[in-house]
Each structure stands twice: as structure tokens, then as C-alpha cells.
């Protein structure tokens, strides 16, 4: 049960006789229970392609993606996506943005707003229900995006560099917020990031991806998010010798990949 990616490959055909581009090669990945899987890698390693596969925006060239045993054939509310930016509807206020998914599913206004308000509270946005989203800060807009994704009770939460556009301080706070939400809701999460530190701090499982062809080069099990949720402060977790040692190891892998590619 949960999400199962089996031998999935994505190959883009190219015009005028050049060889086709292998965006992803035979990916095997399981995201089950309350796994928090973080994908890390340089640009062009296929992280976003992998997310598009899971979300159903893209069909694999070969292999398959199974959710609770059923083949994924397109986008669906059981796999909600949080985007990096530009994904909110500026003509709706915060409440209607959060309730947007429920509205599309035909949920009547009263229960729709009730559910939305619950997640607005969870994300600490209660004072901004009627605010225009384009007037909010980047961090608050992202919280609206997360609340919106949660309303439809997805089995897997897909996050495509959700904190990439935030400043460093907001970003650290948002990391902690997402971990707490994840802990409260006990969802499977697939999370893409460029930041090694963010990847190590947030995930329970880390996949480091390599480009050309995009593939999973290394896998790690991570203890740090559990330590944080167990009561250790984020700064303490990130400053621990184990954290720093693993951070250097992962950085070394990524840089050696870059050199190999260059």
C-alpha cells in the first residue's frame, strides 16, 4: 500500500535525428505510510519529472506508478501538489483559495468553508481569511498553498521546491511548520529541494539523483526530522556532528556528479 514506482523511465523524443533524451531511467521508489521522501540533486537530474510522473501530469515511457495498488493514469486529488509559486488564484481570497480544491469537487459551501477553516487554523492563517492572496508575503502565500493541498485529504503530498522562493529565515520557520503539519496529519510526502541542509533536516528518506540520464544515485535513511519532532531544537539538530558529517558526504556526492558531468 502507498505509492509504488516500478521501473519507471521517461524518454523524450527529439527532432532531426538526434538521440532521444533519457530524462529518467528505471526509477524504483516506494513512498508509504508516513514516509517523508526528499529528492535532492542538481538541476536537470529529473526531480521535477519524477514529481510530474507521480502527480500524473506525465505518463512514464515504460514502467508504472501504483497508488494503493491501482495504476496512476492522470492527476487526481489523492496526490495534491504544492508548487514553488504562481499557483494561487489571485481573484480569490485566502479562504476561497484554500477551499478551491473542494469547490472543484462539488463540496457545498458550508462544509467546504468548515474544512478550509480547519486547515487555515492549522497553518496559522486565521487572521487572513479574507485577505487578497497577492498582498501576502511569499511565506504566507506558500502556507495558503499547503493548506489548499491538504483540504482534499490526499494520500501523498507532493511538494515541488515549495520553499525555494523564500528568504533564509522564513524558510527555516516554514521547514519546522511543514514538519509539524506532517507529524499532525501523518501523510506520505514527496519533497523536492535544492538545499542539502533542508533535505537532511526534513526527510525520513533521502534520494540523491544524478543527471543524464536522471536516476537515483544514492539513498539514505534520515533520523533528523524525528529528532526535531522529539523535542530537539532545529538549530541543535542541524549543528549535531552526525548532521554535519552527512551533509558533507552528500555535498561531496553532488559535486563529484557535477564534475563527472562537466
Amino acid at each position: 500500500m502507498g505509492l509504488n514506482i516500478k521501473q519507471a523511465s521517461v524518454i523524450y523524443p527529439t527532432a532531426d535525428g538526434r538521440p532521444p533524451v533519457e530524462a529518467l531511467r528505471t526509477i524504483d521508489l516506494e513512498i508509504v505510510n508516513d514516509d517523508f521522501v526528499v529528492a535532492l540533486g542538481a538541476s536537470g537530474c529529473g526531480k521535477s519529472t519524477l514529481l510530474s510522473l507521480i502527480a500524473g501530469f506525465l505518463a512514464p515511457s515504460s514502467g508504472e506508478i501504483l497508488l494503493d495498488g491501482a495504476k496512476v493514469r492522470g492527476p487526481g486529488a489523492d496526490r495534491a501538489v504544492v508548487f514553488q509559486k504562481h499557483a494561487l488564484m489571485p481573484w480569490l481570497n485566502v479562504l476561497d483559495n484554500v477551499a478551491f480544491g473542494l469547490k472543484l469537487q462539488g463540496v457545498a459551501e458550508a462544509p467546504r468553508y468548515e474544512i478550509a477553516r480547519g486547515f487555515i487554523r492549522l497553518l496559522g492563517l486565521s487572521d487572513f481569511e479574507t485577505s487578497r492572496v497577492y498582498k501576502l508575503s511569499g511565506g504566507m502565500q506558500q502556507r495558503v498553498g499547503i493548506a489548499r493541498a491538504l483540504t482534499c485529504n490526499p494520500k501523498v503530498l507532493l511538494m515541488d521546491e515549495p520553499l525555494g522562493a523564500l528568504d533564509a529565515l522564513t524558510r527555516e520557520k516554514a521547514q519546522e511548520l511543514i514538519l509539524n503539519i506532517w507529524h499532525t496529519t501523518a501523510k506520505s510526502v514527496f519533497f523536492i529541494t535544492h538545499s542539502v541542509e533542508e533535505a537532511l533536516f526534513m526527510g525520513t528518506k533521502l534520494i540523491v539523483m544524478s543527471p543524464r540520464p536522471g536516476r537515483i544515485a544514492h539513498r539514505f535513511d534520515l533520523p533528523f526530522s524525528r529528532q526535531f519532532l522529539g523535542g530537539t531544537s532545529a538549530r541543535q539538530v542541524k549543528a549535531s556532528p552526525e548532521f554535519i558529517a552527512l551533509r558533507e558526504e552528500v555535498l561531496k556526492i553532488i559535486f563529484s556528479d557535477e564534475e563527472a558531468a562537466a
Binding site: 502527480a55 500524473g56 501530469f57 492522470g74 501538489v81 504562481h86 499557483a87 472543484l104
Partner: protein
């Protein structure tokens, strides 16, 4: 010491156009470096008064004969006279009403057809393939060029007049709506799909609202074309209307009536544009913000 670190502030301040020469720090509430900031109301009022003054000066000094350029007072007097007595036995407001009905009727029709057509063209390569050639073919042709055709086909009645204005409004409105379809970010569209939205829902809940700012702009441009075409539409067999008034007056060299008619058309068009801008601020306040 501090004076030396800002060498330009003192030396450049003397020039008459110094405000054009250098960038100055902004007041709180403004953003440094954004071009075109600031309130222009007083400058606009000054500009209009300046034009009227130069106009008056030319006529007052007798530099131009009244037949070519009547004085501002004469035009105002003509306005009062036409307002009271009408023009060619028709009350002034009836001329205004007839022209407005033609322009706004054609505009409404063009919006009712052009906006759905443009959206369909943006959404479907099939519809775009069919309607792109005829629209692009007639769009750059001046309405005066196909006016004779309109008259041959539809006669000299109201139909050909409204149709001429309609055609001049249709193209800009349809093309604006068509490009507005592309306003939605791919993330917004994907977000809707990932909630299980149907194609129809994506269109009504994402594509249409995000196209709205561009559709409103296209409507503003379109109504402008409508007023531009009005005089051409009232050239043949019209007995009422502002365009008819201007054309008839010109044949009798009543220059003051011509200028008065032009100003009345401009004022109506401008007032409507202000209304459209107000509507824009009300219903698409997010325009350009996200």
C-alpha cells in the same frame, strides 16, 4: 566631506530641465527607479488649459481666419445653440443618442461574439485554424475600404452602419481574448487538474478569470476603434448622429460645428474609458500583481 561624496546634487540643480537629467531619491511610499510614477492630474489640466489658451490666442490675434479655426467662444456658443435648437431639425441629444446606440450596440454585439470566439481560438487549435485567416485578413483593412461592400450587401439602413462598427470592434476584442487565454500560469492549471478538475472546470475556474484583465483591456481598445469608425459609418444616408452632424457641417463650412462635434465624441469616448478603468480596478485589482 559629505559634500564631496555627492558631486552631482549641487552642480546639476541649476538647469531648467534638471528633473529630467538625474534620478532623485523618492518620497516614502514611492519606489526608487520605477519609471512613470506619480500623479498627473494637474499636469493634464494644465495641458488642456494650455491648448485652449493657444487656440484662443491664435483666433483672438486674428492669425487664423474663423472659417478655418473658430474661436473657443464660438465653438461653445455653437454648442449652446445646437443644444437649444438642434441640428437639421433634430435635437442635439437625439444625435448623441443615435450615435451612442450605434457604437454601444455594435460594441456589445462584438463583445458577445468576439470574447467567446477569442477564448475558443485560444483554447482550440481547430477553431483557431478556422477563424485566424479571416480575422487577420480583414483586421488591417480600413473600414472605409469595405464600407461600399457593406452598403452593396446590406443596404443604406441601420444594418450596414452597425455592422461596420461591429467589424472594427470585433477583431481587437477577439484577439485580446485569445491572448488572454495564455495568461494562466501552468502551475495554476496543474493545481486545478491535481484536484481532479475537468477540462471544463479548468476553463471556467482558472483560464477565464485569469484572462479577464486582458479581455477588459481588449474591450477598452475595441470601443476606441468603434468611435473611430462612427464617422465612416454615418457617411452614407444618415440623417442623424454625431458623425452625420460633423460631415454635414463640414459641407457647409460650419467649422465651429465640426470642432464641437469632435469634442463631444471625444468627451463621450473618454468618459466611457474612465468607466472601463473604474470597472477594471473593481473586478481585476490583481492585474499585474501576481
Amino acid at each position: 566631506m559629505t559634500e564631496h561624496s555627492y558631486p552631482n546634487t549641487q552642480s546639476r540643480k541649476k538647469g531648467v530641465l534638471f528633473f529630467l537629467m538625474k534620478a532623485r531619491a523618492t518620497k516614502p511610499g514611492e519606489t526608487y527607479g520605477v519609471p512613470g510614477q506619480g500623479d498627473t492630474l494637474w499636469l493634464s489640466v494644465l495641458s488642456i488649459l494650455g491648448i485652449i489658451f493657444v487656440w484662443w490666442l491664435f483666433t483672438f490675434m486674428g492669425w487664423v481666419k474663423p472659417m478655418f479655426l473658430p474661436s473657443p467662444q464660438a465653438v461653445l456658443g455653437k454648442f449652446v445653440q445646437v443644444w437649444n435648437e438642434g441640428f437639421t431639425n433634430t435635437p442635439f441629444l437625439e444625435h448623441v443618442g443615435i450615435s451612442a446606440a450605434r457604437v454601444f450596440g455594435a460594441f456589445l454585439l462584438a463583445c458577445l461574439i468576439g470574447i467567446p470566439l477569442g477564448i475558443a481560438m485560444g483554447m482550440s487549435p481547430f477553431i483557431r485554424g478556422i477563424f485566424d485567416p479571416p480575422l487577420e485578413f480583414y483586421r488591417p483593412i480600413p473600414p472605409l475600404a469595405y464600407l461600399p461592400l457593406m452598403i452593396i450587401w446590406f443596404g443604406i439602413g441601420e444594418t450596414s452602419k452597425v455592422l461596420l462598427i461591429f467589424l472594427s470592434v470585433l477583431a481587437p476584442v477577439a484577439l485580446g481574448a485569445r491572448s488572454g487565454v495564455k495568461s494562466a500560469a501552468i502551475e495554476q492549471i496543474h493545481a486545478a487538474y491535481s484536484f481532479g478538475a475537468s477540462r471544463w472546470q479548468v476553463m471556467s475556474h482558472v483560464i477565464l478569470p485569469s484572462a479577464l484583465p486582458e479581455i477588459l483591456t481588449a474591450m477598452r481598445i475595441g470601443i476606441g476603434f468603434g468611435w473611430t469608425t462612427l464617422v465612416a459609418a454615418e457617411m452614407v444616408a444618415a440623417t442623424k448622429g454625431l458623425g452625420y452632424m460633423v460631415l454635414t457641417a463640414s459641407q457647409f463650412l460650419q467649422t465651429s460645428t465640426v470642432i464641437m462635434g469632435i469634442i463631444v465624441i471625444a468627451i463621450i469616448a473618454y468618459a466611457f474609458d474612465m468607466l472601463m478603468r473604474w470597472i477594471e480596478r473593481r473586478i481585476v485589482p490583481w492585474k499585474g500583481r501576481m
